[in-house]
């Protein structure tokens, strides 16, 4: 508990979290502070490229672990299974329509790569190592949840939501391709490659993350301002309970697989986090009748801030305690 609190305090007072808080505050106060869409997108490409590359280099460095394949499979299973849990939980906690519940469920099965990035940076500054291939696990967990959620809907008699185009869009969405692609580039070029571009992808990383989280804060804050009315208390509570449920599933998985302390923490983070890019886009295509205000406000306005501020320290502390790391 003490460790959780001290880690939470350190985390809350880091430039990264404070930048996020600044963004939220500015948006709630209706400041016109804003980061151009192109710049935000540029930063997200930078972060994906850097995190993928570094993961690949770490795999090149430490060799393929026997757990790589099993971790990928476990990630896919988690992503596919968690939507059903979320769907059930929503039926208990909120009274959303089946469509809205399924759309929300898809988000919580999938992952938020920025949460993942923030967690790796907490691990780093705590000196806890993690498997480099966890970025590949992150990529693998993006899509299955979408298929799962559509299957939940189709069980209710409503089918023909999925077609080849949508499937390709989901599987080859930009962030998956960039993450996996740069992971392989890092793996192939290894430390030699890293040395050449270290001054670009390693040293300024934390700073870019600050500005990116400033933007995320602005977006989340605007979402809260506009969308807070749509969320009933039960649904709001889901936005905090579901991450804890997901993290528990991730914890069990990580312990079962026998990955490192950092690996367990990242499994918890991935399972706890909710998508706010790939899944919303897919939902607009496949479930246009579902209300975007609900799933975006929940994922970006409730769960993302929760994980960023309290969730990550909790997950890291629990993982440390249970793995003796």
């Amino acid at each position: 508990m003490d460790q959780i609190l001290s880690l939470a305090a350190t985390n809350l007072l880091s430039p990264i979290i404070l930048s996020f808080a600044l963004g939220v505050a500015a948006a709630l106060a209706r400041s016109d502070l804003n980061i151009p869409e192109a710049v935000a997108k540029g930063m997200s490409i930078y972060l994906l490229f850097a995190i993928g590359f570094k993961g690949g280099v770490s795999v090149a460095d430490h060799g393929i672990d026997a757990t790589l394949a099993s971790s990928l499979v476990a990630g896919i299973v988690l992503s596919a299974a968690l939507p059903s849990v979320a769907f059930g939980l929503l039926q208990v906690m909120g009274n959303l329509s089946r469509l809205d519940a399924a759309a929300v469920a898809a988000h919580y099965g999938s992952i938020s790569i920025v949460t993942f990035v923030a967690a790796t940076s907490v691990l780093e500054s705590s000196g806890i190592a993690a498997e480099g291939y966890m970025v590949a696990v992150a990529a693998a967990m993006e899509a299955p949840a979408i298929l799962s959620a559509l299957w939940l809907i189709s069980r209710g008699g409503d089918s023909r939501r999925m077609d080849g185009d949508l499937m390709r869009e989901i599987m080859l969405n930009g962030s998956i391709v960039l993450l996996v692609g740069s992971f392989f580039i890092g793996w192939i070029t290894g430390n030699d490659g890293l040395e050449r571009i270290e001054a670009f992808i390693v040293s300024p990383f934390q700073g870019v993350l600050c500005l990116f989280l400033l933007d995320m804060g602005l977006v989340a804050g605007r979402g809260l301002r506009g969308g807070s009315g749509v969320l009933k208390p039960g649904v709001l509570a889901f936005g905090v309970v579901m991450p804890l449920v997901g993290a528990s599933a991730g914890l069990a998985t990580g312990l079962l697989l026998g990955v490192s302390t950092g690996g367990v923490a990242l499994f918890m983070v991935l399972s706890a986090s909710a998508s706010y890019i790939a899944v919303p886009a897919a939902m607009r295509v496949a479930l246009p009748e579902a209300n975007p205000s609900i799933y975006l406000t929940l994922s970006l306005g409730v769960t993302f801030p929760f994980n960023l501020t309290l969730g990550i320290p909790i997950y890291v502390s629990v993982a440390s305690a249970l793995t003796g790391g």
């Binding site: 804003n34 980061i35 869409e37 935000a40 997108k41 997200s44 185009d165 933007d215 995320m216 602005l218 977006v219 605007r222 506009g226 706010y276 890019i277 919303p280 886009a281 939902m283 607009r284 295509v285 246009p288 009748e289 209300n291 975007p292 205000s293 975006l296």
Partner: protein
């Protein structure tokens, strides 16, 4: 200068549906259109804005199509199959075009 009667169809639609819309109207034999960016808007599903969006999910575009009057219905039918379940506004207006041989 000689001009010719035509119809101008403007469809405001979500970014994620853009390629589905243009695919559908191409299949219906329409080969000319232009896509314009949209910064924000408001409608029955609330207000939205491009500012600081990191996600493809929230954006919209406007697809404009100038077409011979006799082809209008084909176009609208094709567009409607895509727009139907989705957010989207379709307007049609009269216009005249130069160089009608192009349409």
């Amino acid at each position: 200068m000689q001009t010719h009667q035509a119809k101008r169809v403007a469809i405001i639609i979500e970014l994620v549906m853009q390629s589905r819309l243009t695919d559908a109207i191409s299949e219906a034999g329409v080969t000319g259109w232009t896509v314009l960016p949209v910064l924000g808007g408001s409608g029955r599903s609330g207000a939205w804005s491009r500012e600081g969006q990191v996600t493809r999910a929230g954006g919209m575009v406007q697809v404009v199509c100038v077409i011979r009057p006799d082809r209008l219905d084909t176009l609208l039918d094709a567009a409607f199959t895509v727009v139907d379940r989705h957010i989207g506004v379709v307007t049609v207006s009269d216009c005249e075009v130069l160089r009608a041989e192009r349409f």
